[in-house]
Point group: C2
Chain length 344, copies 2
């Protein structure tokens, strides 16, 4: 049996101007992980007062993940990776708290505890296979922070450090500057945490990444097959696992949009970390606003989209059905958007 586990949480790093597109503005962005969890669970936001769309109108990739798991009947579990806002989706608690801006001195003090509890949870899940995904605005910046602390900043193909972005124009210089300040605030040089992924996660990462890594670690210890469902953030999780000594098979399932990102070289990361990578192309076209946004390079990945596409492909679900599902969920979202307003 396969379960898709979505780790949903927040880092205040996302509030840095220009870092993330995962929400129309910083206030609304804090609701994105909660809304993603609800969309995955119910098909639409329930408590979250927002429909997660980028400033240009690109819908959250949770819409595609929902369309697929709904059609395939895949079990899903949301784990609270430090949610900033309440969610109406049921969540498993592992003690993760919202991450601070990584330029603070100890931004993710809950990381070690959350990793440990998530690992226990990963050990106990009864499934044969886990797809583990993330939703955390600002997460590519914290992923770069973790990779840099591990001494792996260049693993995605650029020696000065690179990760992908939900924005069409990747603010890589800004991300590198933020990461530089983060390491400085924690008195770390690049590579100083190579043997201590929990230090990398705590000092330069985010709580979601700690939870992803913890669940994966526990699953691997009990011979549960693990596919990391996402992009460069999941590469950072894979690096944490390898740096903690987890060997053996580890999958990464991502989208063709992420693979096409010129900022990153997924093959190099796959080779260095020993990941079997699955890239799935949903065959989006320009004739629907949601699909056109992805075609323009927005969002690219997140909330398990690449993993869901891989599951669809494996189950021989035609991508035309996935696209039809995307349109249905998207239309429901827009219909709901009129009714949504912040609640007291």
């Amino acid at each position: 049996m396969t379960r898709l586990v979505l780790c949903a949480g927040s880092t205040r790093t996302a509030a840095i101007d220009g870092i993330s597109a995962a929400g129309a503005d910083a206030d609304l962005m804090a609701h994105t992980p909660s809304a993603d969890a609800e969309i995955l669970t119910y098909g639409a936001p329930v408590r979250a007062p927002v429909v997660p769309v980028s400033p240009t109108g690109c819908p959250t990739p949770a819409v595609i993940t929902r369309a697929v798991v709904d059609r395939l009947g895949i079990d899903t579990t949301i784990v609270d990776g430090g949610l900033a806002e309440p969610t109406g989706a049921p969540t498993v608690t592992v003690g993760a708290r919202v991450g601070d801006d990584i330029r603070e001195r100890d931004p993710v003090s809950s990381a070690p505890g959350a990793f440990a509890a998530a690992r226990q949870f990963g050990r106990k899940l009864p499934d044969d296979e886990l797809f583990i995904a993330e939703t955390v605005p600002g997460g590519t910046t914290t992923a770069l922070g973790v990779l840099t602390a591990l001494g792996e900043a260049g693993i995605l193909g650029r020696d000065d450090g690179a990760v992908s972005s939900s924005l069409p124009e990747n603010p890589l210089d800004l991300k590198r500057r933020v990461v530089g300040e983060a390491l400085e605030a924690s008195s770390l040089s690049p590579g100083d945490a190579a043997d201590e992924p929990l230090v990398a996660l705590r000092r330069a990462g985010d709580p979601v990444l700690a939870v992803v890594a913890g669940i994966a670690a526990g699953a691997l210890e009990t011979d549960t097959a693990v596919t990391l469902a996402g992009g460069t953030q999941l590469v950072a999780a894979a690096a944490c696992l390898r740096h903690r000594g987890y060997e053996g098979p580890l999958g990464l399932a991502t989208t063709s949009f992420l693979d096409a990102d010129p900022a990153v070289d997924l093959d190099r990361a796959a080779a260095e970390l020993g990941l079997s990578v699955t890239v799935t192309d949903p065959g989006f076209t320009d004739d629907h606003p949601a699909m056109a946004a992805y075609e323009r390079g927005e969002a690219k990945e997140g909330a398990g989209m690449g993993g869901a596409l891989a599951l669809a492909d494996r189950a021989n679900l035609p991508m035309a059905d996935v696209r039809a599902g995307l349109q249905e969920v998207y239309d429901d979202l827009l219909a709901d958007a009129d009714e949504q307003a912040p609640e007291p």
Copy 2:
């Protein structure tokens, strides 16, 4: 679409000696709602260090509910109704906290807030139909407390007040005495809270009942069909709804074991509260220890068992399949029991 919502939580009233059979002893009983949530979600305990069985070895009714929802593919959601112990099941949070012993002065101070948040949640759920269930050891005593405070102690057929029990020998005298002390501690006479169900829930009830009533209230306000899935505790929830002015159709789905309880007259409650009652007999036999325990009158109902049986019957799932499912889940539980031990 139909969703089964299980409200899981605790009241310290359960620790009164002789009140409840929902766990081998008082310490283990605190884990029962968390374990029930895990069994419903995963088919076995994940984090909870117990397999919920009565002192005589009767397994939790969550085993039957799990067997049915697993076979029918029914969506389930666990709502935290004041859990005393962590659970590995994903839960929706509505602000409920563990209830104190109702002989304390203000045992369920979280009831009004939890009712309000649960009501909002019930309003927003996208389903056409909800089955709402409970798991709360000691819950029949707090149900009697609520019914008494509402002036409905006799609604189940005995003027001196009655509810069912998970024990074969219903300690009704003890329950009445506890309820008497509870009302006294809150300076209430029977019926004093007839117009204020939230006062009844707060002063003589438990947080689970507040959450059940809140979700049902929200669902009814948005024309979602509601079936209260359980026994006399759900009758108390129905009484709260009627006393708050909710009219219109309201279902109650329970087991033949509950219906056969000589302590209570379900027909009278149904008539007075305008409930359409569905009683389903799973056709248990004496030749399996779990089924034999139910045949002896243990457990009777709980964790949505009666609702699940009604859903099975409606979907034409043969009761032989339900019984086979019970045996499978039960066998898995016993296999797991050897591996389970409290974690640090």
